[in-house]
């Protein structure tokens, strides 16, 4: 069985491409990191891949609005190729800055903004979420805890769009109180996001954007409470398994093709 081919975008200040590649490879994919200019120049072809990932980072330094510069570049040069890609039975994920790029690109069925956190400050911490729809990316996951790191993650839409999101089941992830909340007691919603939304998808669930970083939660050691859990397991006579909650998302995407 051939491994599904994954393309992780890079360039212009995206910076999570290596760990995102690691995550897809660990999940069973065959991943290439591709600079956007190599797609524009035709050195690499989008059509050779089954999964495209817009990873996290600070494309164009968030200047002129997070994700905007990179989205403009995609729109100016790759629009046809990317719309052709999503018209097929393929998967797209935008993580953090990648989600902001998807938002500005308009690849998702509703118009929405990811704007300054209510603290107006970059925030790094873990959050708990509940899975709200049936995206293939989230198959079999009910709740999940992942880290966030962003300054502009507050999702904002008008009232009409809220009802569209609900009606069409586009809300994929909502911040809730869970394991991490019980441990660290920080507010469940880290940025003031409307309706506690952490991630959304298109109608098919195949295009998925989320603010948290599943690629930073691949191992047990990523959990903020791992040192505590290790001691607990030790006393119960158990060992640790070197697996973190984020891996399932990548495995789901690979399984979609295998």
């Amino acid at each position: 069985m051939n491994k599904p081919k994954v393309l992780v975008m890079s360039g212009y200040g995206l910076n999570c491409e290596e760990e995102t590649k690691f995550a897809f490879d660990k999940a069973g994919g065959k991943t290439d990191i591709v600079h956007i200019n190599d797609l524009i120049d035709g050195v690499k072809k989008l059509s050779d891949y089954q999964i495209v990932s817009f990873p996290g980072g600070f494309s164009y330094g968030d200047d002129t609005g997070s994700g905007n510069g990179y989205a403009n570049k995609v729109r100016n040069h790759l629009w046809e190729k990317i719309t052709h890609f999503i018209a097929q039975d393929k998967l797209v994920i935008g993580i953090c800055n990648g989600f902001q790029i998807l938002a500005r690109l308009g690849l998702l069925p509703v118009t929405f903004a990811l704007t300054n956190n209510d603290s107006a400050r970059y925030t790094v911490r873990w959050v708990d979420m509940r899975v709200e729809n049936k995206s293939p990316w989230l198959l079999g996951i009910n709740t999940i805890s992942l880290p966030i790191a962003h300054g502009e993650g507050r999702l904002f839409v008008d009232n009409k769009t809220v009802s569209t999101l609900r009606k069409k089941n586009l809300i994929a992830l909502r911040y809730i109180k869970g394991e991490i909340y019980d441990y660290q007691h920080l507010p469940a919603n880290p940025n003031g996001s409307l309706e506690n939304i952490a991630g959304i998808t298109d109608e098919s669930g195949k295009i998925f954007g989320l603010m948290p970083h599943p690629e930073r939660a691949l191992f047990f050691n990523h959990l903020p409470q791992w040192s505590y859990l290790k001691e607990k397991l030790l006393r119960e006579g158990k060992g640790i398994s070197d697996k973190g909650p984020g891996l399932s998302i990548f495995i789901n995407s690979i399984r979609y093709f295998v």
């Binding site: 360039g11 212009y12 200040g13 910076n15 999570c16 290596e18 760990e19 690691f22 995550a23 600079h35 200019n37 190599d38 120049d41 600070f58 164009y60 330094g61 968030d62 200047d63 002129t64 609005g65 905007n68 510069g69 403009n72 570049k73 100016n76 500005r104 118009t111 929405f112 903004a113 704007t115 300054n116 956190n117 209510d118 603290s119 107006a120 970059y122 925030t123 790094v124 911490r125 790191a149 300054g151 507050r154 904002f156 008008d158 441990y183 660290q184 007691h185 003031g192 970083h213 930073r216 191992f219 050691n221 990523h222 409470q225 040192s227 505590y228 290790k230 001691e231 607990k232 640790i240």
Partner: protein, 977 residues
């Protein structure tokens, strides 16, 4: 023809909300792009749409937008020539959108209008404007409502750079009196109009040597030659205070104490030596595993941060990243660290650089917040985790804050079949500069930081880092060009700009010939000497073989990175610079690098003696412990840890905030290679107040702290390296030099005793402020002699590490090590207004055994928690471990090992070499057996509720509180930051 595009938020703007909270007035923010280039109306519409988020914003072209009600409009923009990162991105986006190019004189400029509402007088509005901008880099334009309406907006002025100065190359006449030589050296080369070009920091001995050299050549130096020599010979670059003879130390402090310590340790370690590259490259390197090296480097960026805190600190962090990128053939930056020394942010007493209340210094809080923000932006935008850091407060950092920044790098041992640390420019290689363009920013940075700060400090010394330009550069170099073998050598462009990087790399082959007109400029009008010494950021210098040039050039272009070949490396033993075919600099390499005369130094040392404090014990020890927890030097700085990304790259293991209670940790652990379970532990040690009593013990405590913090988390002292960063003051005073000598001696003694090699270091010697106080009286503020020791260790398994928080009720709490009456210059004495004399002494031999045993315990999973006892002593350590676990304790100071007579001494003594651990009671026997003869004290138990109880030797309760209350004291100080 300037077009103004103004953007206003149509949804609640949290930036305005935050500003409203600060000002107490309703605020509206409008972002402005001023485009100095002709476009059609249709083009402008398209441009406006790509600069706007239609969901959240409304845009307007050449029609001012404002809220319907406001009393004042304050527009803040940059001064001419200051780096404007947002404008650069906007330019790129416009070029990409319309497939056009901006010409050299065409630019985009950004600014921001803050509209304030309410009954505000002109004076009040001016005061508010003052809090919104920094005159060193920005300009403010203020209009009242009627004025704004009358003018139809803010106007169309843009900060275009207009340089009208001479671009000729001038000869500098050195055949003048000594007094005039001194003047040139101190104030700089004179322009025709009588003004000077800024400090050369060359003293008379140096000026006379230069005069004699040019006498043998039969001519005077050109301005570029003298500027170039000044850069190369600056204290900042040559570190003469560490290199030149001092008293009986003929080979200088560095060779005698620092390098020789490392040499000796490496020899003693024999085949267990893990050092790989020390003191030769931009960073030091140790072995990580059979495939990789770990590099480390720490720097300071103090003087610029005092003037422009944000610009100074972002330049610092992005600059030290280049010490990783410029190590060997290029290492990938994988961890940032930071450390800031500030004055009390509540201090609002003004301080002036100039006479008659002119050139007001920024207030400590402004400096603090700006510095924190700069490292936030630099680290986060670069995608480098910044897990580890500290804050230190002392009023003597009011004139000059200290901004420590460090970067750990990862590099394969072999690249393209060659040893990755070997690099050498070859004669015939092209001199290639990649990255940002050159402007007037940062001219005289190297010589500026080699002088005390006074009213003559140059405004152009300020640069603003651009992490995205650097990220593009870094990615293409270390992820592509490096592995394709496209260059022979690489180094960072830092202090002194091209004059230092090119001349330094030219040493590898013997010489260079530079064609200066080929250097790309930000704007026209720069004089040749300015191009040569400018410290414009985000540039690397490389040696590229001619047959690889095309491939290298194409790759850079494809990645959107600016690249220019600006000359050739030679073996001619000369550094030659030409400008449009005319030779304007022709200096022997030998003279340029080694021509500076030695300046032997004499030191004195008088041990200061302070009154020995005598006071009764506090009656309410509970209150005392709460007060101590809220002290600036102890309080939680969670607000920094939560805004510095420590999860990026997916490498975090032990994080900066630990436990349920989120307590700031002293050490963090990373997993740099995701496919391996090996780890890297880093920590820091700094105790500047101890310098008041004795710099020898200050240094030994800094070393012990850096080591102890790391081993407490799981580091192996046998695989731990150190970095030294000296920040001193008044180095022309023999007593200060005497203090320096003692501290460096301690570095030798303790590095050797612990077997922890020093692998990289840096010094910053002129941390003095000369200016005027709030009454206009002259004042000199010198920092306390400060030494930062950073530690870095490799461990075989990341899961054999321990966090600081108590884990389970019923666990046993121990104190490892001994407690003595060592409160001299402690936080406790500081709180009470004393200094005292009993500064902590370090027993390295005893501690080393303890640290080895601790490692053994952690490797055997015996510890549930572990925390180094640091500032504030045992009382604070106990509070932290309890707050971390949100659990109670019941412990007794009875039988405390060492020698302590009073409870407050037991709780707050800062004796070194101590660690608080908790263990599962099932492990008691084996734990105590491993500890053996190491002095340790069983203190008591972890309890189920959150009650925090400390008993004295008679078992009487002296502290009773609960962990939530402790947390609230610990977190109250910076709660609203």
């Amino acid at each position: 023809m300037v077009t103004r595009i103004e953007i206003i938020s149509k949804i609640p703007d949290t930036r305005a909300e935050v500003r409203k909270k600060v000002l107490g007035l309703p605020v509206t923010i409008v972002d402005v792009y001023s485009i100095d280039k002709k476009f059609t109306a249709l083009q402008l519409k398209r441009i406006a749409s790509v600069l706007t988020n239609p969901v959240a914003q409304t845009v307007s072209i050449n029609t001012p937008v404002s809220p319907s009600r406001f009393s004042w409009a304050i527009e803040i923009g940059f001064l001419p020539g200051v780096t404007d990162n947002v404008a650069n991105t906007a330019t790129e986006s416009i070029e990409d959108l319309l497939k056009i190019k901006f010409k050299d004189e065409e630019h985009v400029y950004t600014s921001q209008i803050t509209f304030i509402e309410g009954d505000v007088t002109k004076e009040q509005a001016a005061k508010i404007a003052g809090t919104l901008y920094n005159p060193v880099i920005q300009r403010a334009n203020m209009k009242s409502y009627p004025q704004y309406k009358k003018d139809k907006g803010m106007g169309y002025t843009v900060p275009k750079v207009k340089l009208t100065q001479s671009r000729s190359v001038d000869e500098v006449n050195l055949n003048v009196s000594d007094a005039e030589l001194i003047d040139i050296g101190k104030k700089g080369i004179k322009n025709n109009d009588g003004t000077t070009r800024g400090p050369l920091a060359l003293d008379l001995a140096y000026m006379k040597t230069i005069k004699a050299y040019y006498h043998t050549l039969g001519r005077n130096p050109t301005d570029i030659e003298l500027e170039s020599i000044a850069q190369t010979w600056s204290e900042h670059c040559k570190h003469t205070i560490f290199a030149d003879p001092m008293d009986e130390i003929k080979n200088g402090l560095f060779k005698t104490f620092i390098k020789s310590a490392t040499d000796k340790i490496r020899k003693q370690k024999g085949k267990n030596d893990f050092c790989y590259s020390v003191f030769t490259d931009n960073s030091g390197a140790i072995e990580f595993d059979e495939n990789y090296l770990i590099t480390d480097k720490a720097e300071t960026h103090n003087s610029p941060s005092a003037l422009d805190p944000f610009g100074g600190s972002i330049t610092g962090i992005v600059g030290v990243n280049r010490d990783a990128i410029g190590f060997g053939m290029g290492a990938k930056p994988i961890i940032n660290r930071y450390g800031f020394c500030f004055a009390d942010p509540r201090d609002t007493v003004p301080l002036y650089k100039g006479k008659d209340f002119t050139q007001k210094m920024l207030e400590p809080k402004r400096i603090m917040l700006g510095v924190i923000e700069g490292v936030n932006s630099g680290g986060n935008c670069s995608g480098i985790p910044s897990p580890q850091g500290f804050l230190v407060f002392d009023k003597r950092y009011k004139g000059k804050p200290l901004v420590f920044v460090g970067t750990v790098g990862l590099i394969p041992k072999k690249i393209h079949g060659k040893n990755a640390v070997d690099k050498s420019a070859q004669p015939g290689d092209l001199i290639v500069v990649v990255g940002g363009r050159v402007g007037q920013d940062g001219i005289h940075g190297a010589t500026f930081s080699s002088e005390a700060m006074d009213s003559g400090s140059p405004a152009t010394a300020v640069q603003i880092g651009d992490p995205i330009t650097q990220k593009k550069l870094s990615d293409v170099l270390i992820k592509e060009a490096r592995d394709l073998g496209l260059y022979n050598s690489i180094t960072d462009n830092g202090a002194g700009g091209l004059s230092c990087s090119v001349a330094e790399m030219a040493k590898e082959c013997g010489g260079c010939r530079v064609e200066l007109e080929k250097v790309p400029l930000k704007y026209p009008g720069l004089a040749p000497w300015q191009i040569w010494v400018s410290e414009s950021q985000e540039r690397m210098t490389l040696a590229v073989p001619p047959n690889k040039w095309k491939k290298f050039y194409d790759l850079m272009k494809r990645r959107g990175v600016e690249v220019s070949a600006i000359g050739t490396f030679t073996k001619a033993k000369k550094c030659i610079v030409q400008y449009h075919d005319k030779v304007i600099m022709d200096v022997d390499m030998q003279f340029l690098h080694d021509g500076l005369p030695q300046r032997p130094m004499q030191t004195t040392y008088i041990q200061p003696v302070f009154p020995e404090p005598s006071f009764p014990q506090p009656k309410n020890m509970t209150e005392t412990i709460h007060k101590m927890l809220g002290r600036l030097n102890i309080a939680s700085f969670e607000f920094i840890s939560m805004q510095y990304d420590h999860e990026v790259q997916g490498t975090s293991v032990l994080k900066p905030l630990q436990g349920k209670g989120r307590v700031n940790a002293d050490a963090t652990v990373s997993r740099p290679v995701l496919s391996s379970q090996k780890g890297v532990i880093i920590s820091q040690g700094i105790n500047p107040t101890y310098s008041d009593i004795d710099t020898y013990h200050m240094a030994s405590c800094a070393i012990d702290t850096a080591i102890r913090n790391a081993v407490a988390a799981g580091a192996n002292i046998e695989y731990l390296a150190l970095l030294d960063n000296f920040c001193w003051c008044s180095p022309h005073e023999p007593q200060r030099l005497g203090e320096l000598k003692r501290s460096v001696q301690a570095c030798y003694d303790y590095a050797v005793a612990y077997g922890t090699p020093l692998i990289s270091g840096k010094d910053s010697m002129f941390n003095d402020f000369k200016g005027y106080d709030e009454k206009g009286k002259p004042i000199k503020i010198s920092i306390p002699p400060t030494l930062l020791i950073s530690s870095i260790g490799v461990i075989p398994d990341i899961y054999k590490t321990v966090s600081l928080d108590l884990k389970f009720p019923g666990d046993l709490i121990y104190l490892l090590g001994e407690t003595y009456e060592e409160l001299g210059a402690s936080e406790y004495y500081g709180m009470l207004g004393y200094v005292g004399n009993s500064v902590p002494h370090v027993d390295a031999l005893k501690n080393r055994t303890l640290y080895q045993k601790l490692y053994q315990c952690i490797q055997n999973d015996l510890l549930a928690s572990s925390l180094s006892v640091g500032r504030g002593g045992l009382g604070i350590a106990l509070a932290k471990t309890a707050m971390g676990g949100l659990l109670g304790i019941d412990i007794s100071l009875k039988n405390l090992k060492g020698s302590v007579k009073r409870n407050d001494v037991g709780l707050f003594s800062e004796s070194q070499g101590r660690i608080v651990v908790s263990i599962n009671r099932k492990n008691k026997k084996i734990f105590e057996k491993i500890m053996g003869k190491i002095p340790f004290t069983y203190l008591g138990k972890v309890t189920t509720d959150k009650t925090f109880i400390v008993r004295d030797s008679t078992n009487a309760i002296i502290v009773k509180t609960d962990t939530d209350k402790l947390s609230s004291s610990y977190k109250s100080t910076f709660k609203n930051y």
